[in-house]
């Protein structure tokens, strides 16, 4: 195993993985993290901690991930290239690992013009591919990016994101291949609403054999209203939301229920797509719905890590599956 990550064990064991996402508070309150963590306990294999998402200042992902680790959850620390140069990032990775963080998701990061400090300077010293590469070098080659020796390496599972709905479409799989070559172990995708396009992308992924070199977790967002969908369609760059989905939400008597239903259906359909290794659930500050969706999608209970810790993956299905 590359790491001490629960997620790695679940994936390596051949289970259909489920991860969730947790946004840290815009405050110094650890209590908020603890409360949200409750929803995910026993319901997902690992929890993503966003890194100042949409460039709005929140509690740091390192600190939040450390709190989660203390609660027995497996945190995936998100790390963007927007706010730190290569010196800060390497230093933060060492610190996070020391605090018990075993997964990192390497991201470019939303542009600061979207957030609450639009006049700030961005960094983008590295891009996400270069970040992945750097973490892999630190972990596997025990070296800093500079080439200097690294004595105690951070044994983190390396994740990356990909957006099959952004343009240029044909380039997306090239970029995925680059991330895999750079060292990504797993991929979490942008939320899937447009299944046909996702399937076309997966076909290209399979054509290149990438699904055999990296675990692909498809993103799913349970939505509360038609307006939320419309907002994503019109305002969020790189989202593809079919109109019939919006109409379906509009027509629903209980939109929240309909949103859950759509999420569950989507998960079931994604499970049928060859090469999809799991689901990444993004409840967008509606963390309470995560157990509901997981339950109704038939993804519970989650495989339990053997008491011995990180045992080699067994061939058969894990207990309870």
């Amino acid at each position: 195993m590359k790491s001490r990550s629960n997620l790695e064990w679940v994936l390596a064991a051949g289970h259909f993985a489920l991860t969730g996402e947790l946004g840290p508070p815009q405050s110094a309150s650890a209590e908020v993290i603890r409360k949200k963590a409750e929803y995910y306990k026993g319901c997902v294999d690992a929890v993503n901690i966003t890194d100042n998402q949409t460039a709005i200042v929140r509690m740091s992902s390192i600190a939040s991930a450390a709190i989660l680790a203390g609660l027995g959850l497996d945190p995936i620390m998100q790390m963007t290239c927007r706010d730190r140069n290569r010196i800060a990032i390497q230093s933060d990775i060492l610190g996070a690992y020391a605090l018990g963080v075993n997964n990192i998701l390497c991201l470019t990061g939303d542009h600061q013009s979207f957030g609450n400090h639009p006049t700030s300077k961005n960094v983008y010293d590295l891009d996400s591919v270069q970040l992945i590469h750097m973490v892999r070098v630190m972990r596997d080659e025990k070296r800093f990016l500079s080439g200097d020796e690294l004595k105690a390496e951070p044994r983190m599972l390396i994740g990356a994101a990909e957006n099959p709905f952004a343009d240029p479409f044909e380039y997306r799989v090239v970029r995925l291949a680059k991330k895999v070559a750079a060292g990504a172990d797993f991929i979490q995708t942008q939320a899937v609403f447009d299944l046909p396009r996702f399937s076309r992308w997966m076909q290209m992924v399979r054509d290149r054999g990438l699904h055999e070199r990296v675990y692909i977790l498809a993103g799913v967002i349970p939505v509360k209203s038609a307006r939320a969908l419309e907002y994503m369609k019109n305002e969020v760059p790189g989202m593809s939301v079919p109109d019939e989905l919006i109409r379906r939400m509009e027509a629903a008597g209980d939109p929240k229920e309909e949103g859950v239903r759509i999420a569950v259906e989507t998960i079931q359909q994604l499970r049928e797509v060859p090469g999809v290794a799991g689901i990444h659930l993004m409840p967008m500050m509606w963390e309470a719905i995560a157990p509901v969706v997981a339950e109704r999608a038939g993804l519970l209970p989650r495989p339990a890590l053997p008491a011995a810790g990180l045992a080699p993956a067994s061939e058969g299905p894990p207990a309870g599956a």
Binding site: H111, S113, D127, Q130, N163, F165, V174, A182, P237
Partner: protein
Amino acid sequence: MIVAERKSLDEILAMLQGCSRVLVVGCGTCVTVCMAGGEKEVGVLASLLRLAAQREGRTVEIGETTIERQCEWEFVDGLAPGIRGYDAVLSMGCGAGVQTIAQRFGGVRVLPALNTKFIGIPEKQGMWVEMCLGCGDCVLDRTGGICPVARCSKGLLNGPCGGSQGGKCEVSKDIDCAWQLIYDRLASLGRLDLLEAEFAPKDWSKNRDGGPRKVLREEVML
């Protein structure tokens, strides 16, 4: 060319507070071409300064002159006769021009009338766009002649971020996604293979992160 834009009149008037004799100096090179600080703009600004003073019932003396290039000692020298009679020199040159005049004439207040914006081109009459950052380490050979460092909002080297949609950047629909342009261009050149290679982290020491830069060519020195 270096593209600049005139500061707002309020800002200029504020920095000229207390000055009644001002020499407005235009530059005949880049900023003439980008319509920010040539002879015409000097005329317009001088007129406005006089009108603003008239409006307040003040008398001012606004001199107007435009020199070939504000960034060359020889041309700046031409300002010598008379410059000391003014309370301030309002340079309509780029930042290099303002500093050259200031350096040449110690003791004279030299003020910037422009904001120097970028190295760019007039994409069409009346619209200038940024093209080059002057990063000191050109990558255009690998990106189809389109610069991701200057033209991608994040300066990404390994392809577009997830915010690229319909050829536009996530930051604004008015910004083309540089990586879409690169992709299209390389596709038309039949060189999509260039996209597969990983760009190593950039050597920013060649940019101004290495400190103020200098180009030295000993063979042409006197």
